[in-house]
């Protein structure tokens, strides 16, 4: 007898059901986003985790270079704040990378990273509008597809990473179920 119950319809029927279980690692129990239901989401999470772990690690190797990259955006932040941001942002990358590996934490991590990418995207647009040349050691000495001063290539790259982070955030719901169409109901006969 097959005792497995597809609880997705039930969850959908309960208004606010997904907001009531934020602290459960449901997906790990029931196989949610990134597990059997959507292996590509799992791969996306893993890819983003590796990318941001590397990004955070490489920035922490040379915080001075990253601080100057932040400074070059000419946002008006005082040096005191820039010097601290040069440490906090890489740690945020690292912690988000770690969180992406835990299904219950992938949604908040994806949301933060998408927001971070949008923020940097906005800053790149402002750089281009002001005609400033900034070289970002975003991945240390590794260029990751885009070389030279920040420009359209970096904007597209950021957009793609933001989109991937959004997909992860959207797919990894706290209730443990993917937003992807549910699997066909099991034959209970």
């Amino acid at each position: 007898m097959n005792l497995r119950v597809d609880d997705a319809p039930r969850a959908r029927a309960r208004p606010g059901a997904r907001d009531q279980s934020p602290d459960t690692d449901g997906p790990e129990r029931s196989g949610g986003a990134g597990s059997g239901a959507a292996p590509w989401v799992g791969l996306l999470r893993l890819g983003l985790a590796v990318l941001f772990a590397f990004s955070g690690w490489s920035k922490l190797q040379d915080p001075l270079a990253f601080a100057f990259a932040i400074k070059a955006f000419k946002t008006g932040l005082p040096d005191f704040a820039v010097a601290r941001a040069a440490y906090v942002v890489p740690w945020l990358d690292l912690l988000c990378a770690l969180a992406l590996l835990r299904r219950g934490w992938a949604r908040p991590a994806g949301t933060i990273l998408a927001g971070l990418m949008l923020l940097f995207g906005g800053l790149i647009v402002s750089l281009l509008a002001r005609g400033l040349d900034v070289h970002c050691p975003c991945f240390g000495s590794f260029a990751l597809f885009c070389d030279g001063p920040m420009g359209a290539c970096h904007l597209v790259r950021n957009g793609l990473i933001a989109a991937a982070a959004f997909v992860v955030a959207a797919a990894c719901r706290p209730g443990g179920k993917s937003r992807l169409p549910p699997a066909p109901p099991a034959d209970r006969r």
Binding site: A65, F68, A83, R84, Y87, W91, L94, L95, P108, D133
Partner: protein, 160 residues
């Protein structure tokens, strides 16, 4: 939502703790301490008393054979135009803790004048700070950069 704030809070705590443990980041160049120490030595009259040079001070140092000019722009930019006699030393040359080759040709006692394209780029300050880390206590920044130099009608070297 709670987890978003937990991650943000943990990152802030870890980052600030890391910043407190390591030596604080200096993002500006101060007066070279060695300028006072070498007072009376040959070339010391031209040693700058501030970390940032004016055009007149840069011009004076350019005439001093003991001073070295370093261009912190990208290699391609350096090849297109530079202050005559300048050496190329972009910030990337220090990546991974590497010691740039050009440093083998520069004495640690020399006054090193670092500049970049204009007063809008911070690469010169970054390179000067790196040079200080490597023991070049008299590394200073020519803030106006190549743009200020050229605008004053001073000679510019072009080509590879």
């Amino acid at each position: 939502m709670i987890r978003i704030f937990l991650i943000l809070g943990a990152a802030a705590a870890a980052g600030l703790a890391d910043a407190a443990i390591r030596s604080p980041l200096k993002l500006d160049i101060d007066a070279p301490a060695a300028a006072r120490a070498t007072e009376g030595a040959p070339g010391a009259s031209a040693a700058p008393a501030s970390g940032r040079l004016t055009l007149a001070q840069a011009r004076e140092l350019h005439a001093d054979p003991s001073a070295v000019f370093v261009d912190a722009s990208l290699e391609a930019e350096f090849r297109s135009a530079r202050i005559p006699g300048a050496q190329s030393l972009p910030p990337d040359a220090f990546s991974g803790g590497a010691i740039p080759d050009v440093l083998t040709m520069i004495s640690r006692d020399a006054t090193v004048v670092v500049y970049c394209r204009s007063d809008q780029c911070d690469a010169a300050v970054l390179v000067a700070l790196r040079l200080r880390e490597f023991g070049y206590a008299q590394a200073v920044v020519f803030e106006a950069g190549l743009a200020g130099w050229a605008a004053a009608g001073l000679p510019v070297e072009r080509g590879p």
